[in-house]
Symmetry: C2
Subunit: 208 residues, 2 copies
């Protein structure tokens, strides 16, 4: 009896099918074990590229399911972005708020940055109380929390008190540990390499 | 002379401003050094959540800048997604192709999976030759390459031969090293925690 595997096309296909039947059983069991629906708190942090863009992809997904979406952009605001211009086309479906005035090294005014963060949070709190809003994006909120421009405990209390089926996506580097504790899903985006370091500037459509 | 810092509001603000002026000079220098525009190849890989959603956020960004977008979804296709339903609203701006038939453990047919991958690549190659398409999304292509359903060298040759200003975003776990070498920007998404493991199933608007 040979231990070599039969390499005919039929045999490869048969082994593939047998393996996939086993995999499907395992996957189906895991799916059956996860049977709860609820409003998910998702945090996307880390230094790599894919954080805000991911949140704006979930806006598209939610709109595709007929949900209403609220967006609050912290920090950003000095320059108009493609995502803002695009989603403002749908004022009945997306409430879009840009509350920042640029990066801290651009504004160079801490008191003003804090004032803008507080104004942004007042808008966010309103969205977090609305039963008709299925997804709330809090873009770059992590940065505002890491800089202590807002009180993390009171921000988390507002997020925790939202309608039970409302999803929240928080983006930005440096997510505070208390937010990670509260979240259901947390992804950390690492930089493997970046175009900027190769002399390529931020590109419309990709970076903004 | 005391080494204690003055903690008056004016002094905190003045120190903040001085620090931010220095930071801005450093950031501005880095921005000035990155002065090239080109079509960027961006790869988003790793096991965490934010990969496909990030690509679909860049679709929104690109549309906001008036660009045309092509999407080819590999693997996925068994169930309709929010992103597909939403972006199909804009047939003049987005060419949307779903070429997969579901995960490998669902199809359980390797020959058929390969056939679908090849059909998908024929569509992708066409998009990669079009000067009027500013962004091409190749969703879950990494999986197809990792499984060797397509020839990586010939896929990379087609990507490399695209119009000089066309951006390409490739998503999926297990990006092959040759693709990482060719890419300008590569992000790796790690799982810190996931709702699924807490018994919460995939949610419309977030996961699909």
């Amino acid at each position: 009896m040979s231990t070599e595997q039969d390499t005919s096309a039929e045999s490869i296909e048969a082994r593939h099918q047998a393996k996939m039947i086993k995999t499907k059983a395992a996957v189906d069991a895991r799916i059956a074990a996860a049977d709860t629906d609820c409003g998910v708190l998702l945090v996307i942090t880390g230094p790599g590229k894919a954080k805000s863009s991911s949140a704006f992809g979930m806006v598209a997904r939610s709109l595709g399911h007929g949900m209403k979406v609220g967006v609050v952009q912290f920090i950003k605001g000095a320059t108009p972005t493609g995502e803002e211009r695009f989603y403002r086309r749908f004022p009945d479906e997306v409430e879009y708020h840009v509350t920042g005035e640029g990066f801290t090294w651009e504004t160079q005014n801490r008191a003003r940055d804090i004032e803008r963060a507080e104004a942004g949070w007042n808008i966010a709190r309103g969205l977090l109380q609305r039963e008709d809003v299925g997804l709330v994006v809090l873009d770059e909120l992590n940065i505002v929390l890491a800089k202590e421009y807002l009180n993390t405990a009171s921000v988390l209390a507002d997020i925790a008190a939202r309608p039970s089926m409302q999803h929240v996506v928080v983006t930005g580097r440096g997510a505070p540990p208390e937010l990670i504790d509260l979240a259901h899903t947390v992804s950390e985006v690492k930089v493997v390499k970046h175009a900027f370091k190769q002399g390529i500037r931020a590109q419309a459509g990709l970076e903004y």
